[in-house]
Symmetry: C2
Subunit: 393 residues, 2 copies
């Protein structure tokens, strides 16, 4: 949150550098990360519109993103450029702008993920259309980080991740499983087919249910259009195992504790809960561009956020960081996306293409640099597994 920087922010607004100065400031800043303007390396930036420099200094991440969408600059390898920027900690040397401050305040003061508002992210992002996600995500339709320890393809990485989750949960045929934020249901099908357990999956997207249901055949899966706070879940409790993959990012800081309390209430006393989530650096605020264009109302938790919310409810049995695997996952999605975007019947315009490309490559570079974002899988137990929890990798 970089508090206490209010004074220099104001200074920046009142004595904004001229365009000539902006070019020099940005050029020097990028040079310290080994990135050149109009240079020949894949991570160098080619600037098409001189207003880029001003906009970047004025609006930081938002300016960088919107000016890319507007075609003001290009870069042969945005992922490498972003990774180098974080490695050189350039982000800490750009001043905070008012949009960031206001967005941060909004996250802190409002409950952006109240039951009423929560469907918003489902509508704007996940409802882009199943056809779109089929092209980008491939046959697994899994929109979260794969596990690349042995995998050679995107599909393998997702199936390996699902198998890893089943192993970590020690899932067997007698178990009832709840999947909070089940997406298109691949994990549910993997678990019920492979382990013979019964399962309920909840999501806020009717599109996902419509896609998943006919593909689940005779497997013992119920799909519910429901929020994790839905009182009907309590009536179905206790669940032996609960899993939540890539959904906690949409829960919102003010609901972290409530979320953990809900899971605690739904989980059997000797059950296990696996939480798979992106982790953020404690000092990182909300990225304004991502919040505006990609994931409205989303915020990733820090390690302290997680453990505070867990409180005395759960014992940490296991905590696995495989953030570097998100780099490979995002690069695979990007490859699929570009192939799709090059097709003549691609239904979105150039600005959308640039927006989506920036999103995928920016996150790939961020995960590659490792400092800023993590991918964590936590295994939590109410009382600790008798005989010891057997951690797997």
């Amino acid at each position: 949150m970089r508090s206490g920087e209010r004074a220099p922010l104001f200074e920046l607004k009142t004595s904004r550098p001229s365009r000539f100065d902006s070019r020099r400031i940005v050029t020097d800043l990028l040079a310290s990360g080994g990135i050149a303007i109009d240079g020949g390396e894949p991570w160098d930036i080619r600037v098409h519109d001189e207003r880029f420099f001003d906009r970047l200094l004025r609006e930081e991440s938002l300016g960088l993103g919107e000016s890319y969408m507007d075609g003001w600059w290009d870069c042969p390898s945005i992922d490498q450029m972003i990774c180098r920027s974080f490695d050189a900690e350039l982000h800490t040397r750009l001043k905070l702008d008012w949009a960031t401050v206001l967005s941060e305040l909004r996250v802190r003061l409002l409950n952006l993920q109240s039951i009423r508002r929560a469907p918003r992210v489902a509508r704007t992002h996940y409802d882009l259309g199943n056809a779109f996600f089929e092209r980008m995500l491939g046959p697994t339709m899994t929109y979260s980080c794969g596990y690349w320890r042995k995998a050679r393809t995107l599909e393998e990485s997702q199936d390996d991740k699902h198998e890893l989750v089943c192993e970590k949960l020690d899932l067997d045929s007698g178990d009832r499983l709840l999947d909070i934020g089940c997406g298109w249901g691949r994990l549910l099908r993997h678990a019920t087919e492979g382990r013979g357990c019964r399962a309920i999956g909840i999501t806020l997207s009717q599109n996902q249910i419509d896609w998943a249901k006919p593909r689940s055949g005779a497997l013992s899966i119920d799909y519910w259009l429901a929020d994790y706070r839905d009182p009907r879940l309590v009536q179905s409790a206790p669940f032996d195992k609960i899993v939540s993959v890539g959904m906690f990012e949409h829960v919102g800081r003010r609901n972290y504790r409530r979320y953990m309390e809900c899971v605690h209430r739904l989980l059997a006393d000797d059950g296990l809960f696996l939480l798979h989530t992106i982790g953020n650096h404690p000092h990182a605020g909300v990225d304004v561009w991502t919040e505006r264009y990609i994931f409205p109302n989303s915020v990733t938790p820090s390690q302290r956020d997680l453990v505070s919310a867990i409180g005395e409810l759960f014992i940490i049995e296991d905590w696995h960081n495989f953030g570097a695997d998100y780099d490979r996952t995002l690069m695979a999605w990007h490859e699929n996306f570009e192939r799709h975007a090059a097709e003549p019947d691609f239904p979105y315009d150039e600005r959308f293409k640039r927006m989506w490309r920036l999103y995928l490559l920016m996150f790939a570079g961020t995960f590659r640099s490792r400092m800023r974002m993590q991918l964590w899988q936590l295994v939590l137990a109410k009382k600790g597994r008798r005989g010891g929890y057997r951690s797997v990798r």
Copy 2:
């Protein structure tokens, strides 16, 4: 800390139950955990002195421990009795006594592990004598939880633990390693011999250094009689890898943050830090009996304590809970101890024997029940390992 219980505490003091009531209350309480007074099961309690019931209700853990030392009660399997007590959550149904409250306040208000006071635990516990520990710990002289995934003996479990640590730290011959609280140096010898790295080990016990030095031969190990805050360490920094096994329990709550800052300062930017520590339940205070007789000034951290102290200094790469392995380790130590205590030249009296037996078996039972105490190994990085941290088990 069970705050807000002041009123009933006072009530207990003013209207203390008569001895007859005490027997009934304790008998009922234990019965709800399946433990009988003078029953025939190994976890049943045989009471030799009727004052036991009063003392247990009045002084809880301290009364339980001291009355055992005084020979007022016996139990064929103290570990099973303790495990059953925790499983039935009997500890939450005994009132807090004033000794617990005062001891807790002491931990909160005083810095019991200041540089000046820190040697106290080393003097009273670790200086019991190397001969004593050689008998109890066996040839590895390792006084921390072993790793029993594949091990069949205590010695194997300790060597496997040391190999696990080396693997998790990705230790190689170019590394400089710092071991904070190196004990009798087995980990240092394992690491320098197996990986060819150079190392410094620090301890507050001259006894440990005297024992370890002649056994380190030509290995590249320096032993320092030093505190983790010792300014000479900064002059030797940065270290590529830092490890601390079973020492954080003596750091003290008020020093957790300082400890993490010290490690952060001493660690190379791309280095790794492995912290091996007992973990406590967030609601558990200090156990008065243990504090008084076994580990003066010691307190085990909760998961929240750890993550608060880590703050923004480190990224969590890995968190491994193998608390159940402490049960097996303690039972193995107990076996060694009883063999030693039965020898005619055993140099301590009956009261010491009972004290030490209770300590080992009480902790074995506590770790077996899993709810109350954990054994955690955390791997922490300043910036996250490039290419991803490869977690091992």
